[in-house]
Each structure stands twice: as structure tokens, then as C-alpha cells.
Symmetry: C2
Subunit: 516 residues, 2 copies
């Protein structure tokens, strides 16, 4: 490890379950001050010359190194690279762009020049990346400094982060719990303050789940708004569900800043798979109407999630917002379609790569590949699956439109859980439905923190009678709030396809309502 | 046939090769006057009460019935339906929408309530359509009147129009030549004045080819701007190349009117596969730069096409437009990718449907299904194909961007042939490359008429030495201008993905330049 990030600190041994307070204890006051700023605050601090880019980058590099020691969230720090870049930025007479000087982390899965990109497969441990992820240059053109690459699980297809190559990433609030995944390194690193902005990928919840589990913001945009050239999906050319890159941030303002900075570069010129829709200024309707999905009808969420939903609904009603119940339809079928489309070959390609690396499938890999509807299909069977997917999308759009049949005003957004509970204990994240549903539909969705688990308010419901096997399993994961001590409680906001701007605007309104 | 469209005329027996002038001879003066108007002129004539909707619709119905007798372009007229609709429109105090009273024809392939939709398969001759094509209601909501459904070939995958179910559609300018396809009924009906606006579908040239062959305008938009719910593709769920619906019209103004009327309805609300990009007002750059593709490097076009290119280039230069040569790359590979993606199963599904109807594959069906790269593939092989497709798209976008490397101004459009010649004699349309290339790339493209074959100017080049087998076949189709007597000569204009507005604007500029 380079000198810039050498550990000169003493951390408690053994580490406590909750390591979230440790950076404040072991870093300098200035380091803590700097790394407590969010992205817009950093650009301001640099522009007002309170700090140089180099000072900022060095502080975040130190905190990222500490984060790695605490929860194993980084696959590689980039100290020389980042400091050189920071010095270059400091040498400029004007800010390079809207992200000037912001330390950024990116998932290892995204190609980085001169580094391997493994997707956490042992077989790919030495595989050099071809072209770097297009987003890297966009970030740097906007002035950001990439300081770290972060962990993802084996296959990058768990809602946790564990691999034979990089080990397990822990939840900084409670190391018995998962950080979430697949962008679990990002979630953990950001909530620990080791990065001011992170870029993850999400094909079934992989941005939103770790953001929720760690208590930061994570936004999955509509597909084809952010380019993914140079990211290493496991299966190139399989396009039934489109993976989306998107930001994680300690603040909503950071998410907005990134989206504007990125789309302000008209990325569709160079990646013309993208849709040429710039970031649009929008005004929310004065008579906002939000639907709440208390449950998806398959797995009911744990008490902390329901409590969070109630608190937001109450705040929204106090703010004069119309709140109605969302009546979900077909979410079980949605998962059958979605999971099958993840592995049109029944998982054969993944098993081949595992065999090539002589590594065992981890429990969550094995679990996913044996989900009921996943099997090797012929092209004709894939056509059938895509026809079902298209019908499901049309059905759900009609369901949304039907919310306007009485008053002519369709709901502006759906408020719902991000998952059926807070961050679960390790190897238990087996329900994707609350996030993957919106990947299937290509709707933008954001995870945002609302509360923390409360020992008194979040008692288990001992009289609960599960609806089905999945619900029963999920119920068994909540013996009571003790297991989830200190865990963040997050929620999800979803808008219609291409209503990314509205998704963030409604979330901002919710935050304002919650403050009042 | 209903009385409204009963043939009370005498047409020459035998019919001449060129039947284009017959409607003027046998219809009434008022009928000819009405049916010579294009879409914007019709709305104006109705709004100024020069004609009622009913009078307009009756005139077009008569001319469509005559067109059917001359070239076999209609699968069904809708006299009762259309006249009732026209009367309803006449009863309104205000125009219903921007297409108020315009008689429109639609391809049989697009579902129509209460009618069969066969795709010209015998097996499907009695198969009722499920939901009607979403476009029908859009057209009607804008005030249009659907008066006819038009022919397509067996499989809807020929660049001609011939089927065991409906027979062959002929070219009105020269009945020895094809009308083109697969929207060949539209091309023929519109140039004969039997419809003021037509809707076709295009996955490899099926709007642009018949428009070019018949001498009208045909526009293939970027995918996901016009919805195709309720159209009957042969293979649902196969999505390697996206078929596009789009307009055919006797005038460019009609194309523009349709696009504005359609997108003005925000169709993406109900069909949320669509991209929510409205029709945008644009200004062309003052220093317009157009690239000319004289040949795609695989098959050189016949003399009339090259002459048309030269005449447009000359007019553009006179108008102060910068014209450069386009250097095509990889068009042969593009066809191998595209044709394989049309039939991921090697054509098995099509052969099954043919067998089910106990009908033989027509020569052009057989020809297409045995193209070199078409074969039954596994899902893994389809992934490879799509990976190649994506790489090709990226390569071509870079090629386009490279045209700006010296002056910072990438070319605004590519001017090129629509096909390697004018409408060929029947059963000879075996080169799709000039149109299918832009389907692969998802670029918007329009076919527009430029000239007619000239016995003196379009002499064959007897010294020509073909580049390859395909080029040799195409060369053999041009013994001289005599075979193509009276055939329209059309060209194609192509812009970048989602630059649909620019595509039409540049075409308008070309037309103005040609007039001067």
C-alpha cells in the first residue's frame, strides 16, 4: 500500500459490531471535516479555496483505506493516480467541470485502464480490461477524481457482496449484517465517508440494495440514460433485462449533481445506444399524488420498513400530498420472468467461468441459479419469455394509468420498500422482488434513508401468519429488532419510465416533508 | 364490393405497362381534383369547406378501388366504416385534430378490429387479430379516416409484394416491375392517388423500398418513437432488429404532418416502450455538411441512381452546402449480422407457418432464408451475434464522428441510394443492404423521389467489371434503361439515431435546392 494511505492509526481490537464511528476517532480533525462533506459541498469548498483538490483527495484516500480495514469494501485504492490528478486540477485556473475535485469510487466491474476487471470471478483474476468504462472519462471530464475501486460479489449477481477473490464486505453499522450488493463495496465505502460519490450498477437492485442497507442514497436511472460501454457484464449480448449504471451518494444533492454533470456532457453523441434526453428541469404538480405499496403481495416487509412507510405517509399527508394505496399485480410472475432472463442459458455460462477458476459457487450463487424458472432455453423459448415480459410491462403501465381513472391524475410516484427488511444477516438476501421488479419495468427508482432500527418501536409480530414459503423465510429472518441493531431503514421511490427527474424531485419533497 | 366503390369505369384492356395516368382518365374531374391533394391540402380544403370529409373519403375510396383493379395493392377497402367515420367528422363543429378528414391506408399486417391479420400467410387466413394496432386509434384521434388495408408479401419479409394469399402487387409506372415491399401495397396505392397517407412497417427497408420504387416519400423513424402494439410480427419476442412503423406520403409535407400529429399525442404515456421525445422544432446549421455514399462497397448502384446522386450533389453545392464523400465500412458484415438476427432460429418458425398453411415458400422467401449467415442458433450464439451487432453500431458511430475530426463539424446527414437500382423486375429484389443497414444502426432514414429513368441519360456501362457475385447479379439486372421505362428514381437521406427531425429538415432543404 502506498505511503499516502498507510495505516498510521490504531483501531479497536476486536472491532465492535458498529464501526461507523471509528473514522471520527482515528482520523485528524481536518480529515474528518473534509470527508464529512458531500459532493456539492466539496466543489464549493474547493472553489472558495478552503481546501485544495489534493488535500481533499488525500483525506478521502485515508478514510477509504480505513474503511477497507473495517469492512473490506475496496478492491484497490488509486493513490498515485488520484493525487496526480488532484494536482493537475489544482493547477487549473478554472474548475474543470461541475464535479471539480470530487473524490469518486467505482465498482471493480467497470473497466479501468491498466487494471484487471474480474467481476469477482477467480477465473478472471488476471484478465485485463479492454476499453475502460466510458463513465470514467465522463467523470474525469467533469472534474471528478477516481480514488478507489470497490467490491462486488461472485457473478456480481447477489444482493450481498462476497466472493472467493475479495472476501466479504460487511455492513459498517453492524458487521453481522450484509452491506448489500452487488455494489456493496460502494454502499459501505460511502457511508463510512471513504468516497464522496460512487458509481454502481443495478440489474436487479444492485445500487439500491447496498444504498439502503448502508443508509445512503442510490439511484437506478431509466436504462439508456447512462452509458455502460466498457463495463464487464458476465454475459455480453444477453439483453432481456438491461443493467443500469447509477450513482450512490451520502446526500440526495450528490445524486442530482452527478446526473446533471453526466447528462450535461451529451453522452449520447459518443454512445449512441443512449437516448438523447438531457436532464430536464421539471416542476412537480401542486396536487401531488403518491401511491404507497405496503407489500408486493408476495413477501411482507419487516416491522421497521412498515414503520418507515407509515412515517413518510404521515409526513406527506401533513404536507398536503394525496396518498393512496398501490395495488400490486403479478409481482411473483415478474420475478419468474426477470430471473429467467438473467440466465437464458440456465446459468451454464456462469458455471463454466466458475469451473475455469476452479472455485465453488457461493451459497447465494447456487441459490439464484436454482430459482424455479431458471433453466436452459432454446431461442424460441427466449422469444416466449420476452413476449411475456412485454405483456407484463404493458399490463403494469395500464395499472399505473388506471390510478387516474377517477380524477384524471395518475399517481406521480410509488413509495415502497427497497427490500423485505433492513440489511439481513450474511447469506440470507434471497428476495429481490422489491427492486428487480422495477428493472423489469425499466422504471427509475431511488433508495433513500429514513430511519434506524428501533429496539422499542420495531418489535416482531409474534402472531404473524406467513402467506407462502418465501414470506415464511423472510419472516424467520426477523426474530426481533436486536438482530438488526443500528441498521438503517430505507425506502424506495419509483416513477414512470424516463421520469428520472421527477423521481429525484419527489424524493426531495419527501425529505422536506419529513423535516417539518 | 360495396356500392360506394363499385367499378363503373372502363379501363383499357389489356392494361398498358404504365397505368399511372388511368385514374385521371376514368374518374370524375372532382374526384381527380380531390385525390390529387396531399394530406395538408386536404385538411385545408375541408376546413375551408371546399369539400366535406365524406366527399373526400368517397373520392379516395373510388380511386383506391381503381388502384386495386390496376395493380392489386389492397387487401380490403373499408367503405361503410370510412364513410360513417367521415360523416361523424362532418358533424363536428371543430376539426377533431391535425389529420382531420385525411383518408389513410394501413398495411394489412397491422391489426384492425374485427378483421383478420394474416401477414400474408395462408395458415393465418382466418386468424382474427387480438388488440388492434395502437396506431389506428392515434390516427383516428387525430381525425384521419382509415379507408383501406394494403398488401404485403408472404412473411412480410420481401422487398417486393407477392403472396399466395393476395397475389402480386405491381408497379403502377411499369407493371413489369415490382412495387417493392414489404409495404408494397402502400407504395402503389399512394402513388396511384388511392390514399393520401399510408402507414407501413420497416425492419429492412419495407417502407423506403416501396416508396422509392413507386416514387413517393417513405420515412422510417428511429425505433421507439412510433408504437407498434397490435401489429403482427411473425416472431414475437425476437428483438435483435426492431421493426419500425412509419408514414408513406405523396409529399414530404404529409410525412411531417403525420409525425407531428402522432407525437403530439404523447403516445409514450400509453405505450411506455416508447421514448418520450416529442417532435422537436430544429434549425439546421448554416454550414450544412452532407456526405454522399456513392456505393456501399458491396453492390454498386445502377446508372439512374448514380445520376440522381450527382444531380442532388450539384444542386446542394450550388446552394452552398458542403458535400463530402462517405467512406462506408463493413456493410457486408452488417448484412450478415442483420439477416441472422431476422431469423435467430434459422427460419424454422417461418417454415412451420408455411407448412401449416400447406403453401410453398415463394422464391424470395426461399432466397432470404438461405442467405449465408442465417442458421438455427443456440442462445449463446445469439448473444455472440448481438455482441457483434453492438460492436458494429459503436464502430459506425465512431465512423460518423470521425467526419468532424478536421473541422469539428460531423456530417449532418448521409445521402445514398435506397437500393442498388430502381424497382427491379419481379422476384429479383435480392439486395437489402442500402436500407437494412440503417435498421441495424437504428438511424432514421427517408426515401424521396428525384427523377425518372431516362432512355438517353441512363445508358448501361458495358465496360463495367463487377466487384463480387452480388454486384454481378445486380449488374445483370441493368441491360439498359428500356427495362426500367418510366420507373421513378429515388434517393435516401439518413441522419443519426433520434435525429428524425433533422432527417426531414435536410430533405426539405434538398428539395428546395433541386427546385432552384
Amino acid at each position: 500500500m502506498a505511503s499516502e494511505t498507510k495505516a498510521d492509526w490504531d483501531v479497536p481490537d476486536p472491532l465492535p459490531l458498529n464501526v461507523q464511528g471509528i473514522p471520527q476517532q482515528v482520523l485528524t480533525r481536518e480529515e474528518v471535516e473534509i470527508t464529512s462533506l458531500d459532493a456539492p459541498q466539496i466543489t464549493e469548498a474547493i472553489q472558495t479555496r478552503r481546501f485544495s483538490c489534493e488535500t481533499v483527495v488525500r483525506a478521502f484516500l485515508r478514510r477509504a483505506a480505513l474503511a477497507q480495514e473495517l469492512v473490506n469494501c475496496v478492491t484497490g485504492l488509486l493513490p498515485e493516480y488520484a493525487i496526480e490528478r488532484a494536482r493537475y486540477l489544482d493547477s487549473l485556473p478554472q474548475p474543470l467541470g461541475p464535479l471539480h475535485g470530487i473524490p469518486v469510487s467505482v465498482k471493480e466491474q467497470f473497466g479501468f485502464e491498466g487494471r484487471v476487471t474480474t467481476n469477482s470471478f477467480v477465473a478472471w483474476r488476471d484478465r485485463p480490461q479492454g476499453p475502460p468504462c466510458s463513465l470514467n472519462r465522463r467523470l474525469e471530464d467533469a472534474g471528478a477524481v477516481i480514488i478507489a475501486r470497490t467490491t462486488q460479489p461472485q457473478t456480481a449477481m447477489h444482493l450481498e457482496t462476497n466472493s472467493n477473490l475479495y472476501g466479504r464486505t460487511l455492513n459498517p453499522w453492524n458487521r453481522n449484517l450484509t452491506s448489500g450488493g452487488s455494489s456493496g463495496g460502494e454502499g459501505a465505502l460511502i457511508v463510512l465517508g471513504g468516497s464522496a460519490l460512487g458509481i454502481g450498477g443495478d440489474i436487479g437492485g444492485s445500487i439500491r440494495c447496498p444504498a439502503a442497507n448502508c443508509g445512503v442514497y442510490g439511484f437506478k436511472p431509466t436504462p439508456f440514460r447512462i452509458g455502460n460501454t466498457g463495463t464487464m457484464g458476465t454475459i455480453s449480448g444477453q439483453e432481456g433485462i438491461i443493467g443500469c449504471l447509477g450513482p450512490l451518494s451520502p446526500s440526495l444533492a450528490g445524486i442530482e449533481l452527478f446526473m446533471k454533470a453526466y447528462l450535461g456532457q451529451s453522452p449520447w453523441m459518443e454512445e449512441n445506444t443512449l437516448v438523447p434526453v438531457p436532464w430536464r428541469e421539471i416542476s412537480l404538480p401542486s396536487n401531488l399524488k403518491i401511491a404507497v405499496m405496503w407489500s408486493d403481495g408476495v413477501v411482507n416487509p419487516h416491522p421497521p420498513i412498515t414503520r418507515a412507510l407509515k412515517s413518510v405517509v404521515s409526513a406527506l399527508r401533513d404536507a398536503g400530498v394525496t396518498v393512496v394505496d398501490w395495488k400490486p399485480e403479478g409481482h411473483e410472475e415478474a420475478w419468474e420472468i426477470t430471473s429467467a432472463l438473467y440466465f437464458e442459458d440456465g446459468g451454464q455460462r456462469v458455471r463454466e467461468i466458475l469451473a475455469l477458476g476452479d472455485e465453488p459457487a457461493l451459497p447465494l450463487t447456487e441459490w439464484l441459479l436454482t430459482e424455479t424458472n431458471i433453466r436452459a432455453r432454446s431461442v424460441q423459448e427466449v422469444w416466449e419469455l420476452k413476449t411475456k415480459r412485454n405483456a407484463y410491462r404493458a399490463m403494469y403501465n395500464n395499472l399505473w394509468l388506471s390510478t387516474g381513472k377517477d380524477d384524471g391524475h395518475v399517481v406521480d410516484a410509488i413509495l415502497c420498500p427497497v427490500g423485505p427488511g433492513c440489511a439481513p444477516p450474511h447469506d440470507q438476501a434471497k428476495y429481490w422482488g422489491y427492486t428487480s421488479h422495477w428493472n423489469l419495468l425499466e422504471y427509475p427508482a431511488i433508495a433513500f434513508p429514513v430511519a434506524r432500527v428501533d429496539a422499542e418501536l420495531d418489535q416482531a409480530d409474534s402472531t404473524y401468519s406467513p402467506m407462502n414459503e418465501k414470506d415464511s423465510f423472510n419472516h424467520s429472518l426477523y426474530p426481533g429488532p436486536e438482530m438488526y441493531k443500528d441498521a438503517p431503514v430505507s425506502l424506495q421511490l419509483v416513477t414512470r419510465r424516463f421520469e428520472d427527474e421527477k423521481c429525484l424531485a419527489v424524493t426531495r419533497l419527501i425529505e422536506q416533508a419529513m423535516k417539518n
